[in-house]
Amino acid sequence: MSVLKIEDLQVSVETEQGTKHILRGVDLTIGEGETHAIMGPNGSGKSTLAYAIAGHPKYHVEGGSVTLDGEEMLTKTVDERARAGLFLAMQYPVEVPGVSVSNFLRTAKTAIDGEAPAIRGWIKDLDASMQALRMDKSFRERNVNEGFSGGEKKRNEILQLELLKPKFAVLDETDSGLDVDALKVVSEGVNRAKANTGLGILLITHYNRILRYVHPDFVHVFVAGRVAEQGGPELAVRLENEGYDRFLEGSNVG
């Protein structure tokens, strides 16, 4: 059983006004095959948590640890973490001019597996995943995320999730900006990855919507840089009805 364990994680960023503390002691444990939803108001630090786990250089770890099966991730480089089995589907995927989707995917797959995938099987997997995500074959020759619509960028993230087969994935607002059809397609992709590989998921979302398609085992309410409350799926319903107001009292996020 794989486990991703986040303990007392504290993270800051440098801003023009000086150091800003964002994460103030996050504790979370995600087991193999589990889906944890993280819900919270804008600015509460959800993306910061995602980036800190992935190792974005802008986010400074002040304390705490993130371990994958007991191995510390925070001292590893970004690519080492990915090769260890972590994946981040970004809220705003980056455009990479001049690098085709197919070249990018093959390079990433080769890096993660430590060897180039066998051509035939690889093309087959790629075609199948793209078809399931309703991505036209022409995307293979397009530059990564360049000129993609918001929905196409999100599908491209899930395509990578399916092909790279990580142990744990952080999905940062993968649902935002998607219409209902795209939301279903993307959710099915996440569920397929989970069924195929026993993926553990940290699903960051602002809304309840995606939770109808990707069912969470646990829901965590994230406020002012830490987990304020946790529960089962019923907590998401309650948040939808009541909003975050009762958590915001006394906090400095508003």
């Binding site: 190792g55 970004v78 690519d79 990915a82 090769r83 990479v96 001049g98």
Partner: protein
């Protein structure tokens, strides 16, 4: 009274590429030069004042290394080239008083004039086939003593072909390359500089493009200490067009310069200029000055020029200066874009977050950046070879960092 001059701002400005800033690093936006068509020309070096290094055409260059090419006697004897026999192409030497000499232009600077008056013969490459073959001319024997050379590339009416000038070895060379594209011809000229580290090379290209003809002109500068290739392309008859590309990669201490000048003389002429450069290593310096002149009779001109530089390390300098003059109001389009951007950390993070090592991620991005130009060359074999050469350049300068 000077002739009326209009220096127009970009007619359309491209959206800025992700991670790039729309400014020039080290260069100012517009150059206060006289109308380009009025620039002084002469085939005799003595008609030019001695070069001080302050002149606009020399101000970026490391004159200590190249002043002798503007001022001292050069060896103008023939240096043999290697070229396979290819159907539709001929290669020979012509006398320097041949009627062809001077038909595509005349020197605008002292090094060019010095070479013009010294070169004893000119290498004459003629394209007559209509099948579109490819001729590679290998120029490797210049050595390190100061030399002058002259090349004339001539495409017969309605001919098609690709002429590749490949340069390697030592060089201490000032030269002129004339390109004559006769009516209806489609000519590609590629000049590839992969000189030794110490090489000095000042090359002026002059092209004249006839009715409904097209010149695809490509400069690839990778190796050499000081390499400057300045193409002046004159679109002299109706329907003439040019696609001018450049690709350069400067590493530590290298100076690479290119000043494409597109001269729209006739009506309904079209030009596209696209140069891309990468810089890595202390003292890597590149210069791009792109002049486009749309003359008083060039109604219906459609032109666009751009230069993009990718800065891969500290201590480099990229000058990028677009200059557009429009002397007729009746044009289809005239635009320019120039940008110099640092390596984008977000791209790097994205690629690394997919397991790709930092080194490989950098290579992917640079290769991608330059691929746009490589893909335009029009010779599959050369495209493949240059993709590998650029990769090697990148690994070499990464290792030197």
């Amino acid at each position: 009274m000077a002739a009326p001059e209009t220096t127009a701002p970009a007619a359309r400005v491209e959206p800025v590429q992700h991670g790039f800033q729309a400014h020039s690093d080290g260069g100012s936006a517009f150059v206060p030069v006289q109308t380009r068509s009025e620039r002084f020309t002469s085939t005799s070096a003595d008609d030019f004042a001695a070069v001080t290094g302050l002149e606009f055409e020399w101000k970026f260059a490391p004159m200590a290394k190249i002043a002798h090419l503007t001022a001292e006697p050069l060896d103008g004897s023939v240096v043999e080239v290697a070229a396979d026999a290819v159907d539709g192409f001929s290669v020979d030497w012509i006398a320097h008083d041949d009627a062809l000499i001077g038909s595509a232009g005349a020197p605008e600077d002292r090094a060019s004039a010095n070479a013009w008056s010294t070169a004893e013969k000119a290498l004459h490459v003629r394209v007559s086939g209509e099948e579109g073959g490819e001729l590679i001319v290998r120029r490797t024997g210049f050595g390190s003593a100061p030399r002058a050379a002259h090349v004339v590339i001539e495409a017969a009416p309605n001919s098609r072909g690709v002429v590749i000038l490949e340069h390697s070895g030592a060089a201490n060379l000032a030269e002129n390359v004339e390109i004559i594209v006769r009516e209806g011809a489609q000519l590609t000229v590629v000049t590839v500089q992969e000189w030794d580290d110490e090489a000095l090379h000042l090359s002026s290209h002059f092209a004249t493009v006839g009715r409904d003809a097209n010149l695809r002109h490509v400069i690839v500068s990778l190796g050499g200490s000081v390499v400057r290739v300045n193409p002046a392309i004159h679109l002299v008859e109706q329907g003439a067009s040019t696609d001018a590309f450049g690709l350069y990669f400067a590493d530590a201490g290298q100076f690479l310069e290119q000043r494409p000048y597109i001269d729209h003389v006739a009506a309904n002429t079209r030009s596209r200029v696209n140069y891309k450069g990468a810089l890595q290593g202390k003292g890597a310096h590149t210069v791009w000055v792109g002049d486009v002149l749309i003359g008083p009779h060039a109604d219906g001109t459609d032109s666009y020029e751009q230069n993009r530089n990718l800065v891969l390390s500290e201590g480099t300098r990229a000058d990028s200066i677009p200059n557009l003059e429009i002397e007729t109001g009746n044009i289809v389009g005239a635009g320019h874009a120039s940008s110099t951007g640092r390596f984008d950390d977000e791209q790097l993070f994205y690629l690394q977050s997919r397991g790709i090592s930092e080194e490989e991620a950098r290579r992917l991005v640079v290769r991608g950046f330059l691929a746009e130009i490589i893909q335009q060359i029009g010779s599959p074999a050369l495209e493949e070879r240059l993709a590998v050469a650029v990769e090697a350049e990148l690994i070499r300068s990464q290792a030197a960092e």
